[in-house]
């Protein structure tokens, strides 16, 4: 990885990061565009973000793990707001009686990757080049920290009104998910959170490292391909060692906002080499399973990314629509989720499917 221990992100880095996080979001995490707009405003006002190598963190550093929780559809109507995003961080500091040394995103994928960068720009706190998913996932227990059985509490959650809640303790990650989801749903299915704080050592040992730079490199590759008029989708596959599974046109999207999630299914009709074939994608905020002609061929924790066939731009579960021409890509899952404990938390059964994980990449060999 980079030799640089600390870098001041330029606005071009963040523009590229927005492209990368949207692809890594596997349909979820909400579009990074509104977070990017906030960061542009903050940068125009002179703010800057320092990105730190996680290996430079002292053992006892206090790191905030931030997210915007909820259903991506809501984020299209309730615009990302830096002042609202930093509230739970302040609530948590007040609760702990201690200031944070740095912050990090809980997930690199989608708007949440930039959510943390936006709070870093607004507060001046350094951002750590790591996350806990390496992608996006809908639930609190679907993190590398949960796989490692780290402590799941306390959690601070607040909405756009003056509603602020601390979850002092929870029995398990799943109970933390249940309790915080309930609060989030009452708040209008979207809320800002500050998850269980992590020590520097915990981040180093159990975080998924260097994912911010991964998103930046991915975004740069796509932007470069667009500029050079080479194929941006191929650039994604090269950059992430992924495969193209299907090319088609969206013919149906069914979605419903329930229990604080955006759930549903989309159906594609094949184009090009996939002519006359059908592909369907099930989602719970993120795409979780892809089936070709009725048979599940790709599934979480492998990353299922749906991108615009021409521009390589990520397409979210809240914005995918009738008539779009898309490529479905699969990128390898973060190693940590392939362990038995990882698959228990994020494999297909964790999303209600009645089958076990089959790696797409093993199939291909």
């Amino acid at each position: 990885m980079s030799e640089v221990k600390e870098q001041v992100l330029q606005i071009d880095d963040i523009e590229a990061m927005a492209v990368g996080t949207w692809i890594l979001g596997t349909g979820g995490g909400g579009s990074p565009y509104l977070n990017l707009l906030n960061i542009r405003e903050l940068y125009a006002a002179g703010r800057r973000v320092t990105l730190k190598d996680p290996m430079t963190l002292p053992d006892d550093a206090l790191v905030a793990v931030l997210s915007s929780q909820g259903a991506p559809l809501i984020g299209q109507e309730r615009l990302a707001d830096s002042a609202m995003a930093l509230k739970p961080l302040r609530i948590m500091e007040e609760y702990l009686g201690r200031k944070f040394d740095a912050l990090m995103p809980v997930e690199i994928g989608g708007g949440n990757g930039l959510h943390a960068i936006m709070v870093a720009a607004a507060t001046g706190l350094p951002a750590i080049d790591a996350d806990a998913m390496g992608r996006a996932y809908p639930e609190a227990q679907m993190t590398s920290f949960a796989v490692a059985n780290l402590q799941c509490y306390p959690l601070a959650i607040s909405d756009i009104r003056d509603n602020e809640v601390i979850i002092h303790k929870a029995h398990s990650w799943k109970w933390m998910e249940r309790a915080s989801r309930k609060v989030c749903t009452e708040f209008g299915s979207q809320a800002s959170t500050c998850k269980a704080p992590r020590s520097g050592k915990e981040v180093r040992d159990h975080g998924i490292l260097y994912t911010c730079n991964k998103a930046i490199s991915l975004g740069e590759a796509v932007l470069k391909a667009r500029k050079k008029h080479t194929n941006p989708v191929d650039a994604i596959l090269d950059e992430c060692q992924g495969s193209r599974i299907f090319t088609g046109k969206v013919t149906d999207v069914e979605r419903r906002t329930t229990g604080g999630f955006l759930r549903g299914r989309t159906v594609l009709e094949g184009l090009g080499t996939n002519t006359k074939e059908k592909f369907s994608l099930d989602f719970q905020n993120e795409f979780s399973v892809g089936s070709q002609n009725g048979e599940a061929i790709v599934m979480t924790p492998d990353l299922i990314c749906v991108v615009d066939s021409i521009s390589g731009e990520g397409i979210g579960t809240e914005s995918i629509r009738y008539g779009q021409r898309v490529d479905v890509l699969v990128l390898p899952a973060p190693e940590i989720f392939l362990s038995p404990r990882g698959l228990e938390l994020v494999g297909p059964r964790a999303f209600g499917f009645d089958f076990d994980y089959q790696s797409y990449f093993k199939d291909q060999k």
């Binding site: 309730r78 615009l79 707001d81 756009i160 009104r161 906002t257 066939s309």
Partner: protein, 517 residues
């Protein structure tokens, strides 16, 4: 098909055609004038003179205009607007116009007002609407002399009550003010919906003036047929609706040109290359329709969620400037000054029109003006133009097999005969007025947008589709030709039972014998 006049009012030329069941009956090209009425009147008079007085008895007139998109692109003829955003305490860090180009925002910005209120996705209030704040905003708007406002509340596509109430207060406080409510224009996506709403609000003066001018031109030459304005999706709307929602007419130019190319060539699937005075627009026809851009579409730098043809524009046209030493072709153009500035017309600027004349591809102006042009120069300039067009065609193409291409527009002779990936370049009669032909053959649409209760999703969509088709047929569409262009549903959680808002839009060709409405 009954008799219809199609008019394309472009930046340089106003084209007019008369089309009936047998095809194009007559076509003319005349210069666009600053005063809209006289330009359209001139074109109509010329068309009637070339066909005969029977042309006045047409059944309808369809006008496609670039006025609205040009106004935004050139930042002129826009009225100042006030923006009311009803989302507080949320969405405060990104104000209205936040992602607009700065110069455009400056031209239209007549003040933004944040109001507490709006809805959640389930129909509940975020907080109660702050009516006092609305009254205060209205007073301030009245004092500032602003005459057009755009109102955007969160989740208004699911529940318009909040925007309706704000509109009611504003029109009470500011009699005569024009109001654009976001729920009438867009879907979920607050910022993009607000952008469309504010663009629309800023175009209302121009929309009124332009449609009035069109109608007056028709009256002046004695045409009493109804006037339609073409929309982004290749269909038409009454001029009344275009006055209220000019943003719907934004991208009709490229759509008309591509639909016209399909009609003139008889091809349904092809690349279309439209070379005008300033740009070459290259797009893709699929089943006779322009392929749509996938994601967000920017107009004049403003992000919206409109459905637009997927086009690439490059600076290659008849007026494109050619530089010597070193050789350079475009992207600058002499634009509408072509008839004064090009060498063959006695001017001093070398353009691609001169290059085309020197190469024997076009026969316009005075050839002797360019007799001194070295062959190496015009051959190299033409090769550069050819290469730029070929590269762009390759970008827009998604099929690895060779596909046909239709060459249209006044600058069509600049399109090379042989292009990698293209099986054949089709040159068609009336290629120079493909836009106007596209307007004349514009289709009829039908829409259904309503809430269905205690329907399954499939049943609700099927019911909406049936209503949309009936609406289209009632307006004169041929049932057999109807195609779905949009279909979506939004579950509405706050209504009892299983409630779904289903929205379906269909289009069809005009039926051979129009039905009585």
């Amino acid at each position: 098909m009954n008799q219809r006049i199609g008019i394309d009012v472009g930046g340089t030329n106003t084209d007019a055609v008369l089309v009936d069941a047998n095809g194009v009956v007559g076509a003319i090209k005349s210069p666009t004038t600053v005063d809209v009425t006289s330009g359209v009147r001139g074109a109509l008079t010329e068309l009637i003179n070339s066909i005969g007085p029977s042309a006045k008895q047409v059944d309808s007139v369809m006008i496609g205009t670039t006025h609205f998109v040009n106004a935004v692109v050139q930042r002129k003829d826009l009225n100042k607007i006030a923006a009311l955003r009803v989302t507080l305490p949320g969405s405060a860090s990104l104000p209205p116009l936040v992602d607009w180009p700065k110069d455009l925002a400056r031209v239209v910005n007549g003040g933004s007002y944040f109001i507490s209120g709006g809805n959640e996705f389930d129909g509940q209030q975020v907080v109660p609407l702050d009516e006092d704040a609305v009254v205060k905003a209205a007073q301030s708007i009245r004092d500032s002399g602003i005459t057009s406002v755009g109102i955007t509340a969160s989740f208004s596509p699911l529940s318009s009550a909040c925007e309706d109430r704000v509109a009611e207060i504003i029109s009470h406080e500011c009699p005569g003010i024009r109001i654009t409510c976001s729920h009438a224009l867009g879907r979920i996506g607050l910022l993009e919906r607000e952008n469309a709403t504010l663009l629309n609000a800023s175009l209302l003066d121009l929309a009124t003036n332009t449609t009035d001018a069109f109608r007056k031109a028709l009256d002046d030459v004695g045409i009493t047929a109804p006037l339609y304005i073409t929309l982004n999706d290749g269909t038409v709307t009454s001029s009344e609706l275009a006055r209220k929602f000019p943003v719907y007419c934004f991208a009709s130019g490229p759509t008309n040109s591509m639909r016209g190319a399909a009609f003139l060539s008889g091809l349904q699937d092809a690349i279309v290359c439209d070379v005008g005075g300033t740009t070459a627009d290259i797009g893709c026809l699929v089943n006779g329709f322009p392929r749509e851009a996938n994601n967000v579409v920017e107009i004049g730098g403003v992000r919206t969620l409109f459905r637009m043809p997927d086009l690439i524009s490059i600076g290659i046209g008849g007026g494109t400037m050619v530089r010597e030493n070193p050789l350079g072709v475009g992207p600058e153009s002499v634009g509408f000054r072509l008839l004064e500035e090009a060498r063959v017309f006695g001017g001093s600027q070398l353009t691609l029109t001169d290059v085309a004349v020197a190469s024997g591809l076009m026969d316009v102006g005075d050839k002797t003006q360019i007799s001194d042009l070295p062959e190496t120069l015009f051959t190299a300039a033409l090769a550069t133009a050819h290469q730029k067009i070929s590269l762009t065609i390759d970008q827009i193409k998604t099929d690895s097999q060779d596909v046909p291409m239709i060459a249209v527009g006044g600058g069509a002779p600049l399109i090379p005969e042989k292009i990698p990936g293209i099986s054949e370049v089709h040159r068609v009669p009336f290629h120079g007025v493909a836009n106007a032909v596209g307007a004349a053959i514009a289709q009829i649409s039908g829409e259904a947008d309503q809430v269905f209760q205690d329907f399954t999703r499939d049943d609700a969509l099927a019911a909406a589709l049936e209503i949309a088709i009936e609406n289209a047929v009632k307006s004169g569409a041929d049932r057999q030709s109807i195609k779905i262009i949009e279909m979506e549903d939004l579950p509405i959680a706050y209504l009892p039972g299983h409630a779904i808002r289903a929205r379906v839009r269909v289009v069809g060709d005009i039926a051979a014998k129009p039905k009585e409405c």
